[in-house]
């Protein structure tokens, strides 16, 4: 599959379209709790929309409780959405049957943060990766072993790892196995949920490099979830900044880095530890919000240094500020 580098300019169809995706969780665990506290909803993902074009990487960046992981889980239908639409390769992911969903999952694979809990500890590497091959391609026996060995080779491991159990592998090797398993079904979209966050710096660099190489070689599209802006700027063509379940800003990585429009994006950039040691940085006060029964207006208003009355009065519209640069801020 060839991909013109200026896919957006040529107005190609996006591979994934997410529209007003919404998920609320009930914070009350029991009827009694509901009677005491009344209705308590956590707006984990609240009306998020974006497009992903073929061969592109979109980074979902945010802190704890921003809704980045839930967004990925909603897209893969690992949790049911409350509202919104997800179009993937022309199919409406949220309304297809279970059987069709299995077909979709072949094209849409996930890499999780913790490769220890996402690999089956009682299966050898061969079985961990091979199950997807049996399920989707009916590969068995020697044919499957050969294919698994090829996949291992692709992620920088070798056939000597076939018979290993996950606990016999290092963290970096386990994450490579997870990547191989995700690639086994030849997906066109990979959702990577903090795939390098639990790894050491040097191993993180190896895995990031591997993901970049694979993406280029296999023309993958990727949604890359991370809390680390340095990682996002390395992997992503576009960055979506989330806060408290809402999309704050979305745009091309270079623009987001050079001209952040949202005060939260700005604060995130300023909070990056780095080589500026003049101590002039004023860290953002307060803590990331858990969107429990959030008041109207901007979720970030309670921490925002630029807050005005209009910020908390009503719905903040998403403004278009460039070809593909959007921001939800009345001050932008």
């Amino acid at each position: 599959m060839t991909r013109p580098p200026d896919a957006r300019a040529e107005n190609l169809e996006p591979i994934l379209s997410v529209r007003r995706l919404t998920k609320h969780f009930d914070a009350n665990r029991s009827v009694v709790s509901r009677m005491i506290h009344g209705k308590r909803l956590i707006m984990a993902v609240d009306g998020i929309s974006f497009d992903l074009f073929r061969g592109e990487t979109l980074a979902l960046v945010g802190e704890s409780g921003s809704g980045k992981t839930t967004t990925a889980r909603l897209i893969a239908r690992l949790v049911p959405a409350d509202a919104g639409e997800v179009f993937f390769l022309g199919r409406d992911v949220l309304s297809v049957t279970f059987r069709e969903m299995r077909q979709i999952r072949k094209d849409l694979q996930i890499i999780f943060q913790d490769p220890f809990s996402s690999l089956n500890p009682r299966m050898r590497v061969e079985e961990n990766i091979g199950r997807a091959l049996t399920l989707h391609f009916r590969l068995r026996g020697e044919a499957r072993r050969i294919k698994v060995a090829q996949l291992l080779d692709q992620v920088g491991l070798s056939s000597e790892h076939l018979g290993r159990y996950p606990n016999e592998l290092s963290g970096g090797q386990r994450q490579r196995v997870s990547i191989a398993r995700a690639l086994a079904t030849e997906p066109s979209l990979v959702l990577a949920d903090e795939p390098v966050s639990s790894l050491d710096v040097s191993v993180q660099a190896q895995v990031l490099r591997l993901l970049q190489d694979l993406k280029a070689r296999l023309h993958l599209s990727m949604i890359f979830i991370t809390h680390d802006l340095s990682v996002a700027e390395y992997v992503a063509d576009h960055i979506a900044v989330l806060y408290g379940g809402k999309l704050m800003e979305l745009g091309p990585t270079d623009e987001i880095l050079a001209r952040p429009l949202h005060p939260y994006t700005n604060a995130l950039l300023a909070a990056r530890p780095g080589f500026n040691r003049d101590g002039s940085r004023r860290p953002l006060e307060g803590e990331p919000a858990i969107p429990l029964n959030p008041p109207p207006g901007c979720r970030f208003a309670h921490r925002c240094p630029l807050r005005i009355a209009a910020c908390t009065e009503g719905e903040i519209p998403m403004l278009k500020k460039g070809t593909s640069h959007y921001v939800a801020c009345v001050r932008a």
């Binding site: 191993v203 190896q206 809390h227 340095s230 390395y234 909070a271």
Partner: protein, 329 residues
């Protein structure tokens, strides 16, 4: 600077498992001056936490300090009795950890735990301890200290817990704070807050800080000097400016190249760390080193001053590296 606050000399720690005995820290030497902030950088299993814990003599019972000295204000910590150590810990040298949830006692309120430090170390009255603890809460900028005093660790957010732990650690104004990855588990914006707080308190108290971290960027921001440790061996020490601009050890250079940057292809260090019970001969980094030569396999390199470093011989801030063929020479 003739008499550093802390001088670790040839510290060697061995670890015993069911089947093997191996070195986790080997001939480690490092000095910290009063009021200085030194970063100790290394990856998982490099021995950085063991080194930090050895300073307080809190290492795992299966580990043993087999050689070396740890001079603190001219006295060897390794020769102290347990009773003497209890007066040093918390009062002279304090420590904060990566995960305050496990470091704080879940069955006492965080306030009680800070007050306990005053009760135990300074033998103050209950009321006085509480008053001082509340003061400390204010200094670490915990919102509404009186309410926080009665909270349990699980009721606080990660950032608040870390503040409570900092309050307990700094209660007696120690001369040295050992901070073991204190911001690793925190969100970016909270990490920035905690780093700023540590900097403020350090200036206020005038303590020295040994900042243990795997994150080069955090260390660059906070520290004046950095020590890089690989597989239990100190490989390079220097000021942040020289070490990060002109790394002399290939491992340090590899770590710096592992930081993702926009529009730059990552050049990760190849391979992985050796099995601890089977260290390679010669330089411990040679199997992964792109510049390794025959000599690196035969001879263990000692720490030597990097040429053209500009500082005097054996100056406390000299740039030293354990490499036969330092980069840029």
């Amino acid at each position: 600077m003739s008499n550093p606050l802390l001088r670790i000399e040839d510290l060697t720690v061995e670890f015993q498992t069911d089947t093997h005995r191996f070195c986790v820290v080997e001939g480690f030497s490092l000095s910290i001056a009063a009021g200085e902030t030194v970063g100790l950088v290394g990856e998982s299993g490099s021995g950085k936490t063991v080194t930090a814990l050895a300073i307080l003599r809190l290492i795992d019972p299966r580990a043993e300090i087999v050689a070396g000295h740890i001079w603190f204000r001219g006295e060897d910590i390794l020769r102290k009795t347990e009773a003497e150590m209890r007066r040093i810990r918390g009062r002279k040298i304090a420590m904060i950890f990566q995960e305050p949830m496990t470091a704080l006692n879940p069955s006492y309120t965080v306030g009680e735990q800070v007050a306990e430090v005053y009760r135990y170390q300074l033998r103050t009255s209950r009321a006085d301890a509480k008053r001082r603890a509340l003061e400390m809460f204010e200094r670490v900028k915990l919102p509404s200290p009186r309410t926080m005093y009665g909270k349990y660790a699980h009721e606080l957010s990660g950032g608040m817990r870390q503040r409570a732990m900092i309050a307990a650690a700094l209660a007696c104004k120690p001369d040295l704070l050992i901070a073991d990855e204190p911001t690793t588990a925190l969100d970016v914006s909270i990490q920035a807050q905690i780093l700023a707080l540590l900097q403020d308190l350090q200036t206020e108290i005038g303590m020295a800080v040994l900042f243990v971290s795997h994150n080069l960027e955090v260390v660059a921001e906070l520290c004046k000097r950095v020590a890089v440790i690989y597989a239990g061996n100190l490989v390079e020490v220097g000021t942040v400016d020289t070490l990060f601009r002109r790394p002399a050890h290939p491992y340090t250079a590899g770590l710096l190249r592992s930081i993702p940057r926009r529009r730059q292809t990552l050049q990760p260090i190849t391979g992985s760390i050796f099995e601890p019970h089977a260290p390679p001969p010669g330089c411990c980094f040679h199997p992964r080193c792109p510049y390794a030569e025959a000599r690196c396999i035969e001879e263990i390199p000692g720490l030597r001053q990097v040429k053209g470093d500009g500082s005097r011989e054996n100056a406390p801030d000299a740039h030293v590296a354990a490499c036969h063929f330092p980069l840029g020479q």
